[in-house]
């Protein structure tokens, strides 16, 4: 476990998560929001790949890589549903701007 460039990699994935969350908070276009969510999701996937490479002694690191592949598939599924919602919203409203979604008061 010694000699890992721990901090460096964690800063990278933490930065990815931060960029994603910042995008979610600032972007008003639904498509860009989806991209931001994907970036945040990829931070977790990157972590799994990274930690799998430096896994603890008995396990061969396989679970982490398998999880990463599964999560990539999951992320694609999630985006598919998001795009379906965008399409339906665009059809009804003619706009995919999140800020204009004001039917429900906050």
């Amino acid at each position: 476990m010694s000699g890992l460039p721990f901090a460096g990699f964690l800063v990278l994935s933490g930065a990815l998560l931060a960029v994603g969350l910042f995008g979610v908070l600032t972007r008003r276009n639904f498509i860009l929001l989806l991209i931001a969510i994907e970036i945040a999701m990829n931070a977790a996937i990157l972590n799994f790949v990274y930690f799998a490479a430096f896994a603890r002694a008995p396990s061969p690191g396989l679970p982490g890589q398998a999880i990463a592949v599964v999560l990539i598939g999951f992320a694609a599924t999630e985006v598919a549903v998001g795009l379906a919602i965008v399409l339906a919203l665009n059809r009804v409203k003619g706009s995919i701007n999140v800020a204009e979604a004001s039917e429900l008061k906050l």
């Binding site: 994935s13 998560l17 994603g20 969350l21 979610v24 639904f30 929001l33 969510i37 945040a40 999701m41 931070a43 977790a44 996937i45 972590n47 799994f48 990274y50 930690f51 896994a55 603890r56 396990s59 679970p63 982490g64 999880i67 599964v70 999560l71 999951f74 599924t77 999630e78 549903v81 998001g82 379906a84 919602i85 339906a88 919203l89 059809r91 009804v92 409203k93 999140v98 979604a101 039917e103 429900l104 906050l106």
Partner: protein, 531 residues
């Protein structure tokens, strides 16, 4: 080959739901889209699955349930040495409660009128979401748990906006989706940090190694991210804002399912993830409290969760006082109820977990029933505001009595299930001594506070004059007043669902023992298992 049959037998309830969902989608493709047909498939599948789960609970002694793990089913899997699922009696109890919610919503949705389109989508997604919930209840691996949560979440994102007509459901679906996706990203990030800290995502394995190995700071961060992700799903307070909009904008039957069903998934996930660290508190003996990460910080974790619980119930109750719309009022009350459930999880003793579980059961019946009443009342042509319900007591006596009983139970009036669950929960908190007594006091004060807004609704229903001349016997009085009630009434399915929910609320309030006993046994087994 026999192991395959074992597997099928082990997962019978889940397979029944999957088959039901596929059958519904098949009927959709074959253009057999009648609401009654696809609805009966959904009712049948959830009833059969419920029967299987109850049978599992009934036939086996509580100590040795379907304890078939992945390694036992397929020895070659044991190389991974991490069972993805573990059957515990408490998990089966939660499965039963999830199925109960699905059953109520399915039965009620049978009477939504034949002009309703999208029946197959609704019932198919309902069954898929329930499948995800059932998998949550048996999971013992973080990734399995989170993916199961996502299975139910993704199905419910679509469920909220499935009508594709009108802006409100679609906007609710959009908000639900964004919040849900962000929270899942946070949860997975937390899981990845835990994987980095302990080298495994298996909750049982983490409990084994925790306190001795691990990178404490990674583990702490991991649990923090995981908590924030799961708190979104469970509508705990800093992460609750979406729930009100979504419950408000979604079709009311879907709101009933969200409040009565999927939200408890978050509660159970919090229980599953955090019970290990909490219970470890007693066993810890390390001189440096930060050495084992969260596993030696149990008390701090309990204070965090306890604060979250108190804040959740208080904010939910105070904001509910200010609401003018019925669905938003119920949504906020639902948030405050999540606080009570978290209270039981925080304490972590067997009686407290039994109390939280009973509170979940009570909430499935009370809130599911209440949202079903709201859906039915909307079908009668009554508006969304609380004031629109004026005089419902004289116009719809039976429906009003049912709704009144459900609200009284939410307020915790004796002889209803809501009283029993709070009694069990708060007495467990008092038994646990110390800090938890204050949690019980906060809970009691909150219960008293909540009486105000429930009483206001009851006053509106029973002691204020109806807004229009009384239609007789539910028939339409053509244009006599501004708001004549529509003919046709609730429909049989909805009436049955509301009736069953109300009857159970009262019956279990008068004599809770038939269910409270097994739940207590299951809770103590669960605590024993995770200690």
């Amino acid at each position: 080959m026999s192991s395959l049959f074992d597997l099928a037998g082990t997962f019978a309830p889940e397979l029944v739901l999957l088959a039901g969902a596929l059958l519904v989608f098949l009927l959709d493709v074959l253009k057999l889209r009648r609401l009654e047909l696809v609805g009966s498939v959904s009712v049948g599948a959830s009833l059969l699955a419920l029967a299987l789960v109850v049978a599992d609970l009934g036939f086996a002694p509580f100590a040795s349930l379907r304890t078939l793990s992945a390694a036992q089913v397929n020895p070659s899997l044991s190389a991974l040495a991490t069972p993805l699922w573990t059957f515990t009696s408490l998990g089966l109890v939660f499965q039963g409660m999830f199925l109960l919610a699905t059953l109520l919503v399915s039965v009620a949705s049978l009477s939504r009128g034949s002009k309703e389109t999208g029946g197959p989508i609704f019932f198919g997604l309902l069954l898929l979401a329930t499948l995800g919930m059932l998998l949550v209840a048996i999971s013992s691996d973080l990734i399995f748990l989170l993916l199961a949560i996502e299975l139910s979440s993704i199905a419910t994102y679509v469920l909220v906006g499935y009508t594709r007509r009108g802006l409100r459901p679609l906007e609710a679906a959009m908000k639900f989706y964004i919040i849900g996706a962000v929270s899942s990203a946070l949860s997975f990030f937390g899981a990845s940090l835990l994987f980095g800290a302990y080298g495994t995502t298996n909750l049982l394995a983490i409990r084994e190694v925790a306190g001795t190995v691990g990178t404490p700071i990674l583990a702490l961060l991991g649990y923090a991210f995981l908590l924030s992700g799961l708190a979104f799903k469970a509508t705990l307070v800093p992460f609750h804002a979406w729930a009100v909009d979504v419950y408000d904008g979604a079709p009311s039957d879907v709101s009933a399912f969200l409040a009565g069903g999927t939200k408890k998934v978050g509660i159970f996930a919090v229980l599953l993830v955090f019970l290990g660290p909490i219970l470890f508190a007693g066993a810890g003996g390390s001189s440096n409290p930060f050495q084992g990460g969260p596993f030696t910080l149990g008390p701090i974790l309990q204070v965090t969760l306890g604060t979250l619980a108190v804040v959740t119930m208080t904010v939910g109750n105070v904001l509910a006082l200010l609401q003018k719309e019925m669905k938003r009022l119920l949504a906020y009350s639902s948030i405050s109820q999540a606080g009570y459930m978290l209270l039981g999880v925080t304490i972590g003793t067997a009686p407290a977990i039994a109390g939280a579980t009973f509170q979940v059961l009570a909430h499935v019946l009370m809130k599911g029933g209440a949202f079903l009443v709201v859906a039915g009342v909307a079908g009668l042509g009554i508006g969304p505001l609380v004031d629109d319900w004026r005089g419902l007591g004289s116009r719809r006596p039976l429906l009003s009595v049912a709704f009144a009983l459900l609200l009284l139970s939410l307020a915790g009036v004796p002889l209803t299930i809501g009283f029993v669950s709070k009694f069990v929960l708060f007495s467990a908190a008092v038994q646990a001594q110390g800090f938890f007594v204050w949690l019980a006091v906060a809970g009691l004060l909150n219960s008293a506070l909540s009486v105000f807004y429930y009483a206001r609704v009851l006053k509106v229903i029973y002691f204020e004059a109806p807004p229009a001349p009384l239609p007789t016997g539910g028939a339409v009085v053509g244009g006599a007043g501004p708001e004549p009630l529509r003919a046709g009434g609730l429909g049989i399915g909805r009436a049955v669902a509301i009736g069953v929910a109300t009857a159970l609320v009262v019956a279990l309030g008068v004599d809770p023992q038939p269910l409270l006993g097994p739940i207590q046994a299951a809770a103590s087994h669960f605590v024993f298992f995770w200690r």
